[in-house]
Amino acid sequence: MIEIQNLHKDFGDLKVLKGVDLSIKPGEVVSILGGSGSGKSTMMRCINGLESITKGKIIVDDFDVSKSNDLREVRKRCSTVFQQFDLYPHLRVIDNITLAPIAVLGQSKEEANDKAMELLNSVALGDRASAYPSQLSGGQKQRIGICRALAMNPSYLLLDEVTSSLDPEMTAEVLDILKILSKQGITMISVTHEIEFAREISDRIVFLDEGRILKDLPKDDFFSESGGKSDPRIARFLSKMGNV
């Protein structure tokens, strides 16, 4: 369970998050939508402690993100897939995936390698295990990013605009993998601009606007005329994103 309570985040004078309340139950797939500058990515970065919290609280399975003793536990439970992949360029694909499981979870090298190969095969990249990231396409890198996140056996998978740096073809190959994952019971929180994808995988849609949650609705309600679309801000957003 992730509990976000009255979350505020300021960058100097700029108030990016102005009191966000959100709770995510185990097994839920939640998509966070919103225009650029709405605070979506900042909220994600607050969940795993990459940004400090100005005010409010985030609790992940009884661990408080803002307590340094708890942060490690939070991070072990939440794995992030990043927009720019952010793989370690000096490590081979397999070592990118096994670094944290070995160093943080204390897995043996064999155990971690077996798991990594299993994950790589599941994203059809088993043959690239010993390649370096620079030898891979963007879509391949992001599939590795997903494997790296899953190798930690996370309770929560945080997806931070994972297809924003990819062309449509590569976007499709990454989204296909995430669709399969979403059906396997892992809790997913996804910041995305892919409305169709959000509609397909999500249980719930949260719409952020100017640092506040404008709507937090079950998927079907969100996309219905009487639900989310009744809000002019959301209707405008959806039509701009090519979804009528």
């Binding site: 939440c78 992030t80 720019q84 360029p89 000096h90 670094l99 944290a100 943080v104 030898q135």
Partner: protein, 224 residues
């Protein structure tokens, strides 16, 4: 053309001794400078308060003043300040170590800062400790970035060692001077001395290039 003051077999021995003094002072001060420079660089990179500032001031002084002045300061200044029997060789090692440290610190900081910081965030998000991030992610990548700079510095510092002959260290340059004064064969002596430095510098360059290739193996792009 060889008079009674001509070359003797003893000159080869003298040359070898000068070479070994130059090499050992160079290697010792480079090794110590590398070690201290990494520490200073990390202290400054992690913005350790006060110590970071003090070290920065010292290294700015060392980078921006002539090595010869620093050498005089250590050789003549330190014994005047604290009753201490300073030998030329020790003064040479101290000065060159300090000077190398200052330059290494700059290289360390700039090569760490050249790493894409977002992958460090990624590592943090997977609960890796700062120590592990330093050893497994920052160190190997900054080493690859720093390698050409380190090689350049090493070659430069090798040439700088010739200054220590001024305070009486019997290094390669001083040996050249001694032989030249006896033989009056500057066009034979100095090319040989120069060639000796040249060969050492080229060797450093070659070893450096090999290490560089090894450390930056991951930079092969778009090979299928």
């Amino acid at each position: 053309m060889y008079g009674s003051d001509g070359f003797t077999i003893y000159d080869i021995q003298l040359w070898a001794e000068g070479l070994s003094v130059t090499l050992s002072i160079f290697l010792i001060s480079s090794f110590l400078g590398l070690l201290l420079g990494c520490i200073v660089g990390l202290v400054r990179y992690y913005r350790v308060p006060i110590i970071g500032k003090i070290l920065m001031m010292i290294s700015e002084f060392l980078k921006n003043s002539p090595v010869l002045v620093q050498l005089f300061l250590v050789y003549f200044g330190v014994p005047a300040l604290i009753a201490f029997d300073m030998t030329p060789n020790l003064a040479a090692i101290i000065t060159l170590t300090g000077n190398t440290t200052a330059f290494i610190a700059v290289i360390v900081i700039s090569s760490i800062e050249a790493i894409d910081f977002k992958q460090l965030e990624a590592a943090r998000s997977f609960a890796l400790s700062e120590r592990l991030i330093l050893s497994k992610i920052i160190f190997p990548q900054s080493l690859a970035i720093a390698m050409p700079l380190l090689v350049g510095l090493a070659i430069n510092q090798l040439q700088v060692t010739s200054l220590i002959s001024v305070i009486g260290v019997i290094d390669l340059t001083r040996v050249g001077d001694i032989i030249n004064q006896r033989t009056f064969e500057p066009f034979l002596v100095w090319p040989i001395i120069g060639a000796t430095y040249f060969i050492m510098a080229k060797s450093i360059e070659r070893i450096g290039a090999r290490l560089e290739r090894r450390f930056s193996a991951y930079h092969i792009s778009n090979q299928i």
